[in-house]
Symmetry: C2
DNA sequence: CACTTATTTAGAACCATTATAAACTGGTTG
DNA sequence: CAACCAGTTTATAATGGTTCTAAATAAGTG
C-alpha cells in the first residue's frame, strides 16, 4: 500500500482508517477542495466500512499539521480544506459558493514590503471574490 | 447626533442601539478589528445600558451589508470584522492571533490574469500569515 | 393620536467542531 | 506468541458561535 510509508515517515501509524482516507484524498487525478461534511460523504461513497466522524476530524487535522492538506481562509460556517498544498490562490464564487484554483502564474508576484520585527512570513494567501 | 443621517441615508432607522454601536465602532481615532464578542465587551465598557447580543449581531450584519464594515476572511472559530473599509490587506500573527493592517502601499499591485466568464472580481484580499 | 412597520429582546434552537472516556489496534519486547 | 504500552478509533456528550423565534417595543407617518 503506497500510503503506508508516507504515514510512517511522518510519525502517524498507518491504520486502516487513515489509509482509506488517504485513498479518498490523494488517489485522484486532480486535487480538490472540501469541507469535512463533503469528505464524509465522499468516504461513504468510496468505502464500504464506516469511519467515525471524530476520526475524520482527527485525521484531517493530523494531515494538515503534517502538511498534506491546507486550510483555505474563507469566511464560511464550515472550514474548507485543499488537497493541493502547493503555493497557489483562490477565486471564491460568491453566488455558487465554489472555490476555483488560481495557479501561481495567474497571479503576478506579490511583494510584501512591510516587515514586523521578530516575525517571518509563513504564507501569503490571496482570495479573489467573484460576483455576477 | 452625527450618525443619524448616515443611518437614515442607508435606510436604517436611527435607533438608540444603532447610534450607540456607531459610537463604539466609528467614533475612534483609529480603525480596528473585532469579533462580535470583543465588540460586545467594548459596548459594555463604553455604554451604560445593555444591548442584547442579538441586536449586536443584527447591527453588525446590517452595517456590513451597507458597506460600513468588512468581514476579514480568516480561519477562526469567530468571525472577524474591520472598521477600515478601504482596500487593504492583513498580516495575521499566528502566535498572538492578532491582525495587523497592511496599507495598500505595503503590498505591490496584484494582477489577476485569469478570467471567469460571466463573473466580475468583487474584491481581492491578501492574508499574510506570520510566525516567529 | 392611531396605525403600520421596523427593531429589539431573551431565550431557544442550530450545527460545526471539540472533548471524553472506554474499547481497540499496531508495534515492540521478552 | 504473549504481554504490554502508546496511539488510535469510536459513540456520544459538551461547547460555543451564530441564527431563529415570537412577543414587546419604538420609529415614522398621516
Amino acid at each position: 500500500m503506497k500510503y503506508i510509508d508516507k504515514l510512517r515517515n511522518s510519525g502517524l501509524r498507518p491504520t486502516k482508517q487513515r489509509l482509506q482516507i488517504c485513498e479518498v484524498l490523494f488517489n485522484n487525478e486532480k486535487t480538490f477542495h472540501f469541507t469535512i461534511n463533503e469528505l464524509e460523504q465522499k468516504i461513504k461513497d468510496r468505502i464500504d466500512t464506516k469511519i467515525s466522524l471524530a476520526t475524520v476530524y482527527n485525521t484531517v487535522h493530523a494531515f494538515e499539521k503534517k502538511g498534506y492538506l491546507k486550510q483555505i481562509p474563507i469566511n464560511s460556517n464550515q472550514t474548507y480544506f485543499d488537497t493541493n498544498v502547493t503555493d497557489h490562490h483562490h477565486f471564491y464564487d460568491l453566488k455558487d459558493q465554489k472555490l476555483i484554483d488560481l495557479e501561481n502564474s495567474d497571479v503576478g508576484p506579490i511583494n510584501i514590503k512591510k516587515k514586523i520585527s521578530g516575525k517571518r512570513i509563513k504564507s501569503v494567501e490571496v482570495l479573489v471574490k467573484l460576483e455576477d
